[in-house]
């Protein structure tokens, strides 16, 4: 990794080799460990394969079958609900917590309750939320103590089951978002902030004029991650309703799991995975392009 002789070139050209050297390890590891297996999955999506013997090439039949399944639309809708819900609740509350704890004496400790859920293992989280949301579970018992006896069946009635699972996920995700926003707030240079304060900007006006624009690099991260994570929502639904009752709370990732692992239809499952990947990647690129376009990109 040596620097080329400095000449009157743009930085992009001048550090061309150096830059390639810096990015190479990341690209290499991701390509070999994550993309190679994905290529295999893409190949499988054009085959009929049950995990035994050899895959048989059948062209786009799996994709046709995928769109034919009426439940597919249901999974897409549930997944969209997840995307919207997790943008609204955990990102919003995360930002709120970060702003409230910012420059606050003891803020670090007040932020901690939100971080603890993220540190808990997934097993404990799924078990405890089933315990809370089950009929006559902890939530119903608490409501009964306040005289509310006629509660809905949280995990049975659709789309309520998806909504409450989004809230359970939010419980875990708020802390991470708050932490990322906090890093963003900390990276804001002091000078413009002081200047704005001298101008008398406080509260919401300070937020709008200074904090929000300055937070943008991290806001992009948080929203980008939230979209990607919500599109592939799996664990909590599998842990709590397994997509049921019927298939009412199934997300795309669960549909994929159902075909691949439960039914051993590797081709069809792979087709759903490829679809999901393309949608997620398209959403990510569109979002990031728009958000990053004003930046001085190379």
């Amino acid at each position: 990794m040596t620097d080329k002789t400095p000449t009157a070139k743009t930085p992009g050209q001048r550090y061309r080799w150096s830059a390639r050297g810096f990015i190479a390890p990341g690209v290499f590891l991701v390509a070999v460990l994550l993309y190679l297996p994905l290529l295999w999955t893409t190949f499988l999506s054009f085959t009929d394969y049950n995990g035994l013997g050899d895959p048989e090439w059948i062209g786009i039949e799996n994709y046709v079958e995928m769109f034919d399944d009426p439940q597919f639309i249901g999974s897409v809708l549930n997944t969209l609900l997840w995307v919207g819900g997790t943008l609204l609740v955990p990102v919003g509350i995360g930002l709120g917590v970060a702003l409230l704890t910012w420059n606050l004496k003891g803020g670090v400790w007040l932020r901690l309750p939100f971080l603890i859920p993220y540190a808990l293992s997934g097993i404990g989280v799924a078990v405890i939320w089933s315990f809370i949301l089950g009929s006559n579970g902890a939530l119903d018992q608490a409501l009964a103590a306040f005289g509310i006896a006629d509660t809905p069946r949280w995990l049975v009635d659709s789309p309520l089951n998806t909504v409450v699972m989004i809230l359970a996920t939010s419980w875990q995700a708020v802390g991470v978002n708050a932490l990322l926003f906090t890093i963003g707030l900390q990276s804001i240079p002091k000078e413009p902030l002081e200047a704005a304060k001298l101008d008398g900007a406080t509260g919401f006006r300070l937020f709008r004029s200074i904090l929000w624009p300055m937070l943008r690099p991290l806001t992009v991260v948080v929203i980008g991650l939230s979209i990607v994570a919500s599109l592939k929502t799996f664990d909590i639904v599998q842990g709590m309703t397994k997509g049921g009752p019927g298939r009412s709370s199934e997300t795309l990732a669960l549909t994929m799991y159902r075909e691949t692992f439960v039914n051993s239809e590797y081709g069809l499952g792979s087709a759903i995975a490829v679809f999901l990947t393309i949608v997620t990647l398209a959403a990510a690129i569109l979002y990031l392009r728009q958000q990053l376009s004003s930046k001085n990109e190379g």
Partner: protein
Amino acid sequence: MRSRRITLGVAAAVAASLVLAACGSGGGDDDGAKTGTLDFYTNKAAWEPDFDELNATSKTGVNIDLNTTGYSDAAQYDAFIRQSFRTDKSPGLFTWQTGPSLGELVDEGLIAETTDIWTKAVNEGWISEDLRNTYTFGGKQYCVPMNIAYWVMYYNKNIFAEQKIEVPATWDDLNAAADKLKGAGITPYYQTSTLFTFPWFQQMVAGTDPALYKGLATGEVKYTDPRIVSVMETWRDQQEKGWFSDAGSTVDPAVGLKQGDYAMINFGSFFNGSLDGAGMVSGEDYGMFVIPATNPGLAKTPVAVESGPLCVAENSSQKTLGMAYSEWWMSPDAQTAWSKARGDVAFNPKATVNDPMLKELGTTIAGGAYETYDRYYETTPTPILTVALEQFGAFIANPGDPLPFLEAIQAEADKYWADQE
């Protein structure tokens, strides 16, 4: 130039993954060892301590001990095993499920034949002819039974005593008991809307006519058959009477029975372990009975039996070792130790079962008044089963006209059987 390089890179990657695909037939050469440590894979991860406990006995018996790897997710386990046949990790011993799933592996020539082991075991009187049929494909046997479990009705003895209810001997008795319990404000039966949604359907169809039940598995009977519809209508009527627990409950079934959320629960005989763990005492706090047939005219009362196989991969490097262990597994010594470790009934009548209630269940069913049938979960082809479990779940959550649910299942069945032609 750049784009050419990227194209080349992609091409190389595709080639690499195709090579990965091409070296399909994996497997190692059998190393021929007859003693030592055998790698064992199971989807019953919770039983790992029980298998470990058994090592003491197998060490002295055949000088083999198991190195157990447990998988808690059955579907992922299934995929892992399928994939492992392509590699040099194909298992020397693994658990699977009987029925079409096992047939599929046998058809591909992936499973080591165990005909000799079965012949010996049947001659010694270690195992029943009935069970042999479950493990027979094309006239030959494959795998050995890891366990058997009878699906029976567990009941809370304290509730039955308080309500002065006797163990029901007929279907009418059972209905009367349910009515009486409901009248006293106690929910009679447990149910769940996820995964284990089938037992009551299975029970009522087989209890109406075992041939009808078998016809569903082979595709000769349609799910929209009037007799099936009528069973579902009975089920719906029972639902409307409030005989079943809340579908949205997430309480552990054993805890639910203990705290009286319901008085009865239809479960496999391995459920003893869970109930004991929840603090109930076998024979004192809870009992069990074989569910009477829905149709009193049947000559023998049908009992659902679940049996999980222990299999050896044909191309495993530990094939000889796996076969040696399988042979030992059938013996009364092994089964006595297993029944003790697991706390369940034993398939080998010469094995000793400690729990008096389980011992009695085994003898009762072995007597002439009962006939066993394979559980719905194993006999139904996987794609149909997946849809059926979901539809029963939806029905349990919102009971109503059964026809739409049955039609959805039948649509999948039609598709499946058409593919089999």
